[in-house]
Symmetry: C2
Amino acid sequence: MEALQPRRSGANAALRAAAPAWILLSAAPGLRAEMEEIDGTEKEAEESHRQDSVSLLTFILLLTLTILTIWLFKHRRVRFLHETGLAMIYGLLVGVILRYGIPATSYHNKTPPSCSLKEGPASTLLLNVSGKFFEYTLKGEINSREIHNVEQNDMLRKVTFDPELFFNILLPPIIFHAGYSLKKRNFFRNLGSIITYAFLGTAISCFVIGNMMYGVVTLMKAVGQLTDKFYYTDCLFFGAIISATDPVTVLAIFNDLHADGDLYALLFGESVMNDAVAIVLSSSIVAYQPSSANTHIFDAAAFFKSVGVFLGIFSGSFVMGATTGVVTALVTKFTKLHCFPLLETALFFLMSWSTFLLAEACGFTGVVAVLFCGITQAHYTYNNLSAESTKRTKQLFEVLHFLAENFIFSYMGLTLFTFQNHIFSPIFIIGAFVAIFIGRALNIYPLSFFLNLGRRVKIRGNFQHMMMFAGLRGAMAFALAIRDTATYARQMMFTTTLLIVFFTVWVFGGGTTPMLSWLHIRVGVDPDQDLQPSADSFQVLQGVSSQGDGQSKTKQESAWLFRFWYNFDHNYLKPILTHSGPPLTSTLPGYCGPLASCLTTPQAYENHDELRDPDSDLIHSDADLTFMFGDTSITANGASGRADAAGELGWSANGKRSGSTSEEALERELDSREQELLSRGTRLVFPVEYHI
Amino acid sequence: MEALQPRRSGANAALRAAAPAWILLSAAPGLRAEMEEIDGTEKEAEESHRQDSVSLLTFILLLTLTILTIWLFKHRRVRFLHETGLAMIYGLLVGVILRYGIPATSYHNKTPPSCSLKEGPASTLLLNVSGKFFEYTLKGEINSREIHNVEQNDMLRKVTFDPELFFNILLPPIIFHAGYSLKKRNFFRNLGSIITYAFLGTAISCFVIGNMMYGVVTLMKAVGQLTDKFYYTDCLFFGAIISATDPVTVLAIFNDLHADGDLYALLFGESVMNDAVAIVLSSSIVAYQPSSANTHIFDAAAFFKSVGVFLGIFSGSFVMGATTGVVTALVTKFTKLHCFPLLETALFFLMSWSTFLLAEACGFTGVVAVLFCGITQAHYTYNNLSAESTKRTKQLFEVLHFLAENFIFSYMGLTLFTFQNHIFSPIFIIGAFVAIFIGRALNIYPLSFFLNLGRRVKIRGNFQHMMMFAGLRGAMAFALAIRDTATYARQMMFTTTLLIVFFTVWVFGGGTTPMLSWLHIRVGVDPDQDLQPSADSFQVLQGVSSQGDGQSKTKQESAWLFRFWYNFDHNYLKPILTHSGPPLTSTLPGYCGPLASCLTTPQAYENHDELRDPDSDLIHSDADLTFMFGDTSITANGASGRADAAGELGWSANGKRSGSTSEEALERELDSREQELLSRGTRLVFPVEYHI
């Protein structure tokens, strides 16, 4: 947040600071006229600096107001409006005030001076004013019809930030936090499905929406509603940016109500991953340049080049993020930095941020790299940090994420009124709403069908409907849309994206709780099993006893790729990068002995006897349990439940209701959850043998 | 930290993002030439963005390296070099590499395009390139001899940040953290002395240095060493910026060794306060504009105007900071926000930052406002936060402060080689070293003499010498010096300031430990008495018994002003703003009854019976104790110690050595401290009656 201040005021403030010095120095007689002129400039710069502060203050007060209202809502258990929706509403109100409440006359009623050059725009321009040189930096191209806007309303201009702000400052903490919170067993259990939805699903959605919108655009051309160019690639670009889902509202309610863990993991995992996919996809579409410059028809070479760009950027960012994560893990493992939590936290923060810069410096996508850095760090580095630092880093990124997210949403609200170049096209907007609906449906339902062929525990109908329903659009779609609003097509896309975000966040976000009960989705299940202190190295009783060993084996064989990865991770990566896991000396072949003992820390030997690796059960026999647990979750509410299923039995044994559909029941459920979790965690589980 | 990225890359990145869109759109036949030109611009912008990332990465790797080395130093108990000194050394090394290691030829070997205008510089400039308009923002004036530097070495230019960065991003967290850490009883005990040193002392130092430097400048003119203008006001300005002390190195060692608490409070308090005084003083000197424009002689009207500016800005910033602090206290008191630590922390962060913006928007000094906001929040708001949030906010600002401080110091190191306009003037530099020495001496010794006339417990000689020795210059002097380097005089000041910072941080910072033992200053005293859980509402045994009531009364009467403030604070402010203190219903007169019960929360009634206000003993009978404790501290090492003094006896009773001069002893002392603190805290004290 602190970043906003100087970038808008820097230039002016520098002038402001410099000006008094000139006044003292240029005080030779006869220079009065010049002095007065500089004095005027100084005053103007000071006024501009003041306005900068006021505009930032507006946002801070907006956020403060949002926080206070959120508290009130949480306090009163209001769930129909999430904090992000609230931030948008406040943003809208302030936008209206700024737009219509402040007189449009600015303090200087002149168009800014302009000069002409024959060369192309350089990043730096020198201005010669009677022998004095001033340095100017390029801000961007400005539309010829916007030129008179420059003078219109200073305050409106002040509250408009450089779009790169969203990519370089606000998204990284949000995405990193998402990656860093992914250390959930449910996520790894459903990894295959998540990746399918994120990659295949987003691609489907992108192309479905793109093609439908091309139809809409053609229709608009036919009825004469389109006044400027709108190419097929533009439609695909729109498909890419609008395919990034952001069910933050839905997930917050899932979290509150402890809704089913697998569904949570599917939704959260998909939304995190498809953000990354959408970014890279949109860059690839921009990179699609047919060789014949005057056409926008299909060009196979350019298409494959785009696919290459996609794969290159994605894998490059992935490797970059994973590498920094691994380096941080090694650094934190082999230094005793954990004695100084402050140093540790600072180092962790710097390393995470350097991922972003490293990726940008290499031409990859910083945001995607940061995501995978977060996942790697949650998986490895996290284990090396001191207890103090794990808390600190989590909290630090939690605060940053919270502020960034609410800032983006309130800015969205504001933008609806303060953005100067909206193009509201009813046909395009209606078309887009239909297209995203169909695009989401063609993503979720067919993929779920195919996934269910391979999954032992099916993704049932009500889960699919919920995933369909939770296709909200949020921060990433907005950031991608605002990044470039230079052309007519992009401006129309931006307006439409904004409306889609508003609609989905308010309507779908607000309807989550009724939808959950209408779809009979079980609530009151602990979504984060890691919270249960003893659950890590134990297993749910029924998961083993009722299924038997035969089926367990079958499952393990079918998931051999994941088994291979987990074994590799457990036997080699974890011991190398963290203090946990079996000592390398016992997993590496004999001839690697010296290397192994060099890489194994004394803690590893100790840990090996006492502690279990948090993911160890997952590796060896959890695949089966996973699906058991998933199964029970679906069978809640007595719809088609099997009484011997794990969760069901657990609840019955505790003498509690096993699910309820009315909202009041949800409330009661929530109230009585806290004290039950722990007892349940220990009552339902028993230790399982550790077999390598 | 995250702020650095976009402000330098924003413009270019925006262009980069916009460019591909043009390429798709401007693809009409015959436009190939234009496309290639834009393509070139795009490549240049991308290259520039890449360089931005690399330059930031440089700083991050610098900080990472610093952190790892600090860890090594802490691990090995190396004390001759503090982390800030280390950061400077690494910065220096990287500066040398950037300056001499990278070939000066940039990728575009042309001077940036320039155009001429007759009007003065506006903040926005439009550039017309064959019908397309580009918007440029003013970066600042550029020296005519710097113009060819623009093309010289891109990397050198990239690592040079806008000076306002220091004021708007890096200083606020440092200063806020300082204010927020001031909640130490020793600080309030020595408030009078601290304010005297900070205000009167800084003013003395400023004028002494300013006048001496004017002498030096006159000498330089006489021997022909001065090639450009250097006015008396410039000299005074130099006096103001160089009077801001920053004994961060010394205090870190004090903290490590648990050196005397009163000395710590005097040094820390003085340095925090004199930063604020120096900022406002320098603005006031800049505001000193004699009415006769062509002279720089003394002008009474302008002088009083400057004094008015000083008082106005200082009191305005003070009121602004205190007000936001009070508002935050009220908000946190009357909402039950403490159930949601994340919201609470975010709110706290936003409110603190809004102080800065509010002050800037009103034309006051944000940094000064933030300092007083921090103090107010530490005193009131802190008590309303949940235990979780108090930790979170402390840690959040600790990390920010740590990163900001080390960034500034490594940037200082870098600047010595990368700054393009150094003016090394041996006479000026030698003169400045002598002047700051004399200025510091004329601040500390005479003021200590006068303070000792009023103080019961004198500031002894060895304390005075230590304060003299601890007159290091740091971040604030640097930030004030780099803020404006447009003129010859300012450039010379900047170079000199940089050298003074290097010298004092390395030599005085490194010499702290030997100096402490050479001056026989006691170590192993707990500087933060608030850490002792039970010490707050108790008193040191001897402080009461050996002195008797008569003297205690005398003391209280002499400090009536502070007594009045403490009573007012305890009886009215604390109960209004926090949950602690006596209920308002018991302290306010009867006719305020309804208001009082409205402002008093149920907790206050409960707390009243159980808890004591942390500062309560201070108010009623601590004045005496204070000086007792201060006294013993001074009499350590058997030099002139009284055996019945509090600290002395405490240590003797515990069968431990009461002080040692050799460095090995210091080490041992430190090692054995941790387990003793708690037992000492309870063994030495007994409950005291609570009398209103």
